[in-house]
């Protein structure tokens, strides 16, 4: 479970808070989408959960324990993080990329190898083919799959993802997000995904938290947001999925 309490962040030389005060609870097993326009503080919020950014005030609790007292390195090991720019290390093979944390933690070699293969299978990359590939030999979608595998390497219970599908074309994007949903359920993860695409959030997440100017505007299921948007901003945000859904419904209604 992830819990944010009165979390705030103000960057140096800024005249207002980038985030907060923010209160948020993500129960175990939930996949939460953090949606907002650029600059709404959603990435910063995500980075505060694994202490890549230190909050100015307030606290983050994971399974009821305040993370500010924890060793950031140990904390991050328990949290998978997928970056916006995919960020596989270019000079390392896919296997090395995935294995880097387990090997630095001195897991036995055969265990690491088995882990790599298992993860590659999980993300639908054939280990025999992809283990030795270098990142530049992969397509965008395959790279993102490898990045998922890498984030999962140290057996995290929590996954944080910052616009993971942002750089992909629409088709790959849909395919991957559906697969991530499956992985999320299979491994019983608690996940937060940051996106600016409301449609993606609707398709993927259990609940959606809408952020604006560092604050939480509304949080709820897709249905709740559609039925009862808290304000004009949320109404605007859900307009696109609504239009798309309507268009799709019309298309489905017609004989194929």
């Amino acid at each position: 479970m992830i819990e944010l309490r009165q979390l705030r962040k103000r960057f140096d030389h800024a005249d207002h808070d980038a985030v907060g005060p923010l209160d948020l609870r993500v129960p175990p097993g939930e996949l939460l989408a953090l949606v907002g326009t650029s600059g709404s503080g959603k990435s910063t919020t995500l980075h505060m959960i694994n202490r890549l950014v230190e909050p100015s005030a307030g606290s983050v609790l994971i399974d009821g324990i305040d993370i500010s007292g924890q060793d950031p390195v140990a904390l991050r090991r328990g949290i998978g993080f997928v970056f916006q720019a995919i960020g596989l290390f270019a000079h390392m093979s896919v296997a090395d990329n995935i294995a880097i944390t387990p090997r630095l933690l001195r897991w036995p070699r055969d265990e690491v190898a088995a882990r790599v293969d298992g993860l590659l299978e999980l993300v639908h990359l054939d280990p025999a083919i992809y283990r030795a590939r270098m990142p530049h030999q992969l397509s965008g979608g395959q790279r993102q799959r490898a990045a998922f595998a890498r984030a999962l390497a140290a057996r995290p219970r929590i996954m944080l993802m910052d616009e993971p599908f942002g750089a992909l074309d629409p088709l790959t994007r849909d395919e991957l997000s559906a697969e991530f949903r499956t992985i999320h359920e299979k491994l019983g993860l608690t996940s937060i995904i940051v996106t600016h695409d409301m449609t993606e959030a609707f398709l993927l997440a259990d609940r959606i938290a809408v952020m604006r100017a560092g604050r939480l505007v509304q949080i709820g299921t897709a249905r709740a947001l559609l039925a009862d948007p808290a304000d004009e901003f949320v109404r605007q945000m859900v307009r696109m999925p609504r239009l798309r859904a309507a268009r799709l419904a019309r298309a489905m209604g017609e004989p194929g």
Partner: protein, 291 residues
């Protein structure tokens, strides 16, 4: 002017050895920049410390190589202290920021050295005066030992970065430190390790070079421009580039002083300008993105 081939031969060896020293010093500077984005001028302080410790231990025990080992260790220790106390606080800032800080450290360090050892230059005895004969030229064995040490260090550094997982992690962090951090890898430890390695190599360079020069507090400053030129010509962050350019500058300095002694100081600078004109980031320097 006709050049005596024997003079040329010994000059080439001289160039190789001085290139070796440049390499030992520049490699630390280059690695620190690649990984932490700091310009660590204080490496030249560890170089001086290495030389002075070599002198002191050598005088106390009569064991030169023990002195060199102690010098390298002292360089490593000093850099460890500096990293923990000072650099840790400024990694997030602009590279030029670290340059100013490290310049301050270099200067403060020189002050400390003056305080401890005084300003009188100290001689260190060459451990072996043996010479050996190559095509009629007498080559001091000690010069060859220096070249050997540089080659071994290059091989070790290469193997460390390409064959061990910690080295691979360092290279990964050179690529993108935030991603490595996000994976739950202790980046701070990688930084410390790299910095200490750099400091120890600088100390080693000072110790090894000490018998060939007079050890005095300003020796680091005298070396500074050459190390800079090596790093710049090779390209910051590139090990291969640093090695190659150390080789070039070594030869330029030694062969240059054979032809016209005063110009030997100028020649590397002119070469650096020429190379920068063609490649503003040096021979192997990558266009590093800011972060």
């Amino acid at each position: 002017m006709s050049l005596d081939p024997r003079l040329v031969m010994s000059s080439v060896i001289f160039g190789l050895s001085i290139g070796g020293i440049y390499f030992l010093l520049a490699i630390g500077l280059s690695l620190c920049f690649g990984l932490m984005r700091i310009i660590s001028l204080d490496q030249l302080l560890y170089y001086s410390i290495g030389a002075f410790v070599t002198y002191s231990v050598g005088v106390a025990t009569g064991q030169f190589w023990l002195g060199v080992a102690a010098g390298a260790a002292a360089g490593g220790l000093a850099s460890l202290a500096v990293e923990r106390l000072i650099f840790r606080r400024i990694y997030a800032r602009d590279p030029t920021f670290s340059m100013i800080t490290s310049f301050g450290l270099l200067f403060g360090g020189i002050g400390i050295i003056k305080f401890v050892w005084g300003v009188v230059p100290r001689p260190v005895e060459v451990p072996t005066l043996a010479q050996f004969d190559v095509l009629g030229t007498q080559i001091p064995v000690y010069r060859l030992i220096i070249v050997g040490i540089a080659v071994v260090v290059y091989a070790l550094i290469w193997a460390f970065l390409h064959r061990t997982i910690v080295g691979k992690a360092i290279r990964a962090a050179i690529e993108n430190v935030e991603h490595v951090e996000g994976l739950g890898i202790n980046v701070g430890r990688l930084f410390t390790l790299t910095f200490v390695i750099a400091g120890a190599l600088s100390g080693l360079a000072g110790g090894v070079y000490a018998p060939l020069i007079l050890v005095d507090p300003m020796m680091g400053l005298e070396m500074l421009a050459f190390v800079f030129m090596v790093v710049i010509i090779g390209g910051l962050g590139s090990i291969k580039g640093t090695a190659i350019s150390a080789l070039i500058i070594g030869q330029v300095v030694s062969l240059g002083s054979l032809i016209y002694a005063p110009a030997a100081q100028m020649a590397p600078f002119v070469i650096m300008l020429a190379i920068l004109l063609i490649r503003p980031t040096g021979l192997f320097g990558v266009a590093l993105t800011r972060r």
